[in-house]
Amino acid sequence: MKIIACIKQVPDTTEVKVDPKTHTLIRDGVPSILNPYDHFAVEESVRIKDQIAEVSVTVITMGPEQARSALMRCLALGADDAVLISDKKFAGSDTWATAYTLSLAIKKIGKFDIVFCGQQAIDGDTAQVGPELAQQLGIPQITYVEKVEIDEKLKLTIHKQTEEGYQILETKPPVLLALLPPTSFQPEHPPMSSILKAKKKPFKVWDAKTLGGDESKFGLDGSYTQVIKTYTPPTRGECEFIEKDDIKQAAKKLSEILLKHEALIKR
């Protein structure tokens, strides 16, 4: 069975801060990490190896040269080989152009059974590349996947999160799965022996020329959406503290504030 895991290296947006004077993002010193949703997707795809025989996991990413370290991390987590898809021509890609580029790479890799990816990236937050990639590959998709089980007949049992609980779905390859980790998920930190093994695994770098395809569909030119402006959202004001020395008084004061609030008036 051939699994392809798509990942993205992202800035750690929980560490990003906004400059209070210029209202721009302070990106300096923000570490680049493997997108946490993709980290879970890679670990889940590697877990498939425990469930059935003869599984190989190829991990791919579209990104700049430094995205190599995210791929190395995936190799240390147990993926078998990696492909870095990198070219200046891919810069400025929106989700459609990204999905197109990834689909070319996957078609070049050849026959595959399952595509794993994270539900969304913590910088873009769109959750669009997965389904758009599935469409371009012409395969079904399941999003919001929390758990994947497979049997020897390659029947997949999927635990999918819904707003009100979850669903159990069944399907067979080929399929694209977009994963999001359960709250119990503890990301693995690979020990040195896994890192040393990762260094020995096959690592390819493909540029636009190697991929082939229609160049007009790459990067900014191939993007249907355009960002015309970015700005920081207005900051909330200071917190008004209510003194709590007298509990009853504090509760009374807070209730007065709430009673005047439109949410209560219109409830």
Binding site: S69, R73, A76, H189, M192, A198
Partner: protein, 399 residues
């Protein structure tokens, strides 16, 4: 120009190490206050992350990495546990495990190393005695042959990990005199198992820092050990022990870097928050000068330390001499504790009265790094080594 970069594996390892420390070490440091014995779960956590056999031959379950990579582990562990207890467990096990790996008999290596790497037993170092530290040639502990055994009599004191070895299992790489009239040329280095050995009577003292690892000593009365525990050849122990000391010293320098760096981070956060006389104290020149001076020293120490460990690796590959290694290591260790203490002391001072209370985290770091002016070789001896290299043997002090 010199390529100062770490290798890709080393960078990946450091990243993974930081995450390991954040999720598995830092939360456990709360349990370390005053326990006087390393909790078993921490030893197991280190073993699980493959930290206890980093430089040991894979044949015995180790990773066989270079010592610079071990240095990365030391630095990050110290950042996570600035009290230095866990880093000490790591560096002592690493250095003296390496010595056993290099000089031990096959039988001894197979018996000791796999278990130590799995966290099932401890490896420590015991050379100091109540009356001797730097002057190893004057030690009182004696070892003599008895058929296919050795008999040892004497005592060791101010030794880390005695309680851990007595309780969990393991022993200490020990130095003793075989041929007293030959002085330092008549000493043996050997492995002395502690748990269950007849004639070993432990005693304990309370260090002012590094509380989570025990400090103590043991009386050695007619203790018999099998001769397969000898390391290297008889009477050459003084030379072997220095190789072990040097690796330990290099790792210690990085432990000082890690602990001091964490303290400086704490200090920076504090001076950005605290106000006095209407402005953040971080805006005052006096504070800024201290910050800059300490930062430069710690970064310089970091360079010296990694260069020293790199030189140690070079010697293993046959590309550097014994003396080059001794010099590089001595340089790093000669300033490590003092500079770290000064940085942490300044961080405590910035915090005023709070810095003098037990609630302040940084005072733990100070008490931890303060030990390194003496552990594994005193600062004074480091300076003598440096001077010896510069002046030549004829100028050896106390000759």
């Amino acid at each position: 120009m010199v390529d100062y970069r770490f290798s890709e594996e080393q960078e990946l390892f450091r990243e993974s190490m930081k995450e390991f420390c954040k999720s598995e070490i830092v939360p456990k440091t709360e349990k370390l206050a005053n326990v006087r014995r390393m909790p078993e779960e921490i030893i197991k956590a280190l073993a699980k992350f493959e930290l206890l056999g980093m430089v040991i031959d894979p044949e015995y379950g180790g990773l066989g990495t270079d010592v610079v990579t071990a240095g990365i582990a030391a630095e990050e562990l110290a950042r996570a546990d600035p009290s230095c207890a866990i880093p000490v467990l790591f560096l002592v096990g690493t250095s003296w495990g390496h010595t056993i790996d290099k000089y031990g008999t096959e039988e001894a290596k197979k018996e000791i190393l796999p278990k130590a790497i799995k966290g099932e037993q401890i490896i420590g170092i015991a050379t100091t005695e109540s009356d001797i530290g730097s002057d190893l040639g004057s030690m009182k502990t004696k070892i003599s042959k008895k058929g296919n055994k050795y008999v040892i009599n004497g005592e060791k004191m101010y030794i880390s990990g005695v309680a851990e070895a007595m309780e969990y299992g393991g022993g200490h790489v020990t130095l003793a005199k075989m041929t007293p009239e030959k002085g330092t040329r008549g000493m043996c280095l050997f492995y002395l198992p502690l748990k269950g050995t007849k004639g070993i009577t432990p005693t304990y003292v309370e260090d002012i820092g590094r509380e989570a690892i025990s400090c103590g000593g043991f009386d050695i009365k007619n203790v018999e050990i099998s001769n397969h525990y000898l390391l290297g050849e008889e009477n050459k122990g003084f030379y072997y022990v220095h190789e072990g000391y040097e690796l330990a010293r290099g790792l210690i320098a990085l432990v000082c870097v890690g602990a001091a760096s964490k303290a400086l981070e704490n200090g920076i956060a504090y001076i950005k928050e605290r106000k006095a006389f209407g402005r953040h104290i971080g805006k005052y020149e006096g504070i800024q000068f201290k910050l800059a001076e300490n930062y430069v020293r710690i970064q310089a120490l970091r360079e010296l330390a990694y260069k020293a460990l790199w030189t140690y690796d070079q010697e293993i590959q046959g590309k550097a001499s014994r003396f080059e290694v001794s010099m590089a290591i001595a340089m790093a260790k000669s300033v490590a504790s003092i500079w770290a203490c000064e940085a942490i002391n300044d961080v405590m001072q910035w915090q005023g009265a709070f810095g003098y209370t037990k609630e302040c985290e940084d005072q733990k770091a100070w008490r931890g790094v303060r030990s390194f002016t003496l552990a594994e070789g005193s600062t004074e001896i480091m300076k003598l080594i440096i001077a010896r290299e510069l002046l030549g043997k004829e100028f050896l002090a106390y000759r």
